[in-house]
Amino acid sequence: MLGAIVASGLAMGAVYALVGIAYNVMFNASRAMSFTAGTVGMMGGVLGALFIGRFGLPVPLGLAATLAACGLFGVVTEIVAVRPVLKSLDQHLYVLSTLALALMATQFTAIEWSTEPQPFPRLLGGVGGVLDEKFWLPLAACAATIAGLEYLHHYTLVGRAFLAIAEDNYAARALGLPERNLRIAAFALASAIGGLAGFAAGELLLAYFANAQLLAFYGFVPVALGGIGNNRGTIVAGLLLGLLQQAANFIVGGVFASVAVFVVFAAVILIAPQGLLGGQRARRV
């Protein structure tokens, strides 16, 4: 049983961490938290099932098409739901605009795809048990994303520009960085990461519209615990969250696993609103 807990815990944890990274990448580029992080997670599963399962595309092509579609959705998110309300960041209108867009995409999926969970195709086949692809694929996706982000931030100019905008948007603008284009790129990247999470977890979570709401919440928990914008904290918290949830799931049953996660989440954000691993607080006056 321990093997099953660890395998499924790490797998789910990796998914939550990836959705959390999607939140962070969008936040770092815009200072806005976007509910669409969960939506793209859902879309990764649904589009993967659509492209590979229904249209019969080969796996690499299906993956590429899924990520491209999610990235495009990220661009739409930035243009429709974030840019128009950025000026009034203090009013938190982005909470509402991104919630609205996330709901629209979710409802559209429910109507045009299915209101029931649909199967996600086997990608590679092979062994079952705790070493099955459905458990290690999310972990592999998580590792690939971390490696990709490290490369981006340390070896490319665009990646450094992302870091610059995250640290001091005003100074970055004064320096002449094309802030708008970079923000669009960040939203595309974040949404592709969320899509990758959903795709890799397709066999665990199935292609189901309601995953959007689930992932929006469970993906946010590691962000809250790890500190907004802090990817390392998010990954650690995400994996721990997955393990905690799956352990509770096996030991006391599904509902109480959700309750346990909720209680931990509520307790931590109430006791340490800035996250356990640090974040920043703005001056008010």
Binding site: L157, R160, A161, L163, A164, E167, D168, Y170, A171, A172, R173, A174, L175, G176, L177, P178, E179
Partner: protein, 240 residues
């Protein structure tokens, strides 16, 4: 709109700007010639920083004209304006503390051709050997004075035709202030112009060719630095 004289680099005419409903600039006039260092002084809240932001596109001007090398900059964003050779080093040496010194300068040249960029970064670092030594360290590890040098170095990467420095001396020791002003003087030798916002008038006067003073959102004084009784005139303008 009269056509600018050939040696005029920047001409700001009747500029109105502010933040939301708050009007800060009420018809500012300013001219800067090629190869000129102009010191802009004025009491707190006079609108010096706002003027710089208006020129560099960080805030949008409500009315007036900003002619730079003959074209009106109004409505352009900062990323377009820096490409035309007008760079703004903002107040408070806000460099990126999480990035290395080298990367900080690299970003200031965002959009330049890759081969050109490497040359420019070395060129900017050469102006300040003390930070060139620490090029691989994070911005956070620099002292305040070194961070200010880094900020000025960022402004030099694009070989600007006009460099605007907002209070580069704030919080710096006198020696470091001199280092920053030396860099401004070097840029002029290379044919560039500098607009220097300063509270330390006595520091700014020796390097500047001309002094402009702002009070309450308007230019009240414009004199060559050599003119007699300048200091008293400025003081009178402040406490009027």
């Amino acid at each position: 709109m009269p056509i600018s004289a050939p040696d005029t680099l920047l001409r700001v005419a009747d500029l109105h700007a502010g933040y939301g409903k708050i009007g800060i600039l009420h018809g500012v006039e300013l001219t800067i010639g090629r190869g000129e260092i102009v010191a802009l002084v004025g009491p707190n809240g006079a609108g010096k920083t706002t003027l710089l932001r208006g020129i560099s596109g960080l805030i949008r001007a409500q009315a007036g004209a900003i002619l730079f090398e003959g074209t009106d900059l109004r409505g352009l964003g900062p990323s377009h304006i820096v490409r035309r050779g007008l760079c703004h080093v903002i107040e408070g040496h806000r460099i990126f503390t999480q990035l290395s010194v080298h990367d900080n300068i690299l970003l200031a040249g965002y959009g330049l051709p890759r081969s050109e960029l490497a040359v420019r970064v070395e060129e900017a670092l050469a102006v300040f050997p003390e930070i060139a030594e620490r090029r691989h360290e994070r911005g956070a590890s620099l002292s305040g004075g070194q961070q200010q040098m880094l900020a000025v170095a960022q402004g030099l990467v694009r070989r600007p035709h006009l460099l605007m420095l907002d209070e580069p001396s704030a919080g710096l020791s006198p020696v470091l202030v001199d280092r920053v002003f030396e860099a401004a003087a070097r840029l002029r030798q290379a044919g560039g112009s500098v607009l220097l916002v300063e509270q330390l008038i006595d520091k700014a006067l020796p390097v500047a060719d001309r002094v402009c003073a702002m009070v309450r959102g308007a230019m009240v004084l414009d004199r060559p630095t050599g003119s007699p009784g300048l200091s008293d005139e400025i003081a009178a303008a402040y406490f009027s």
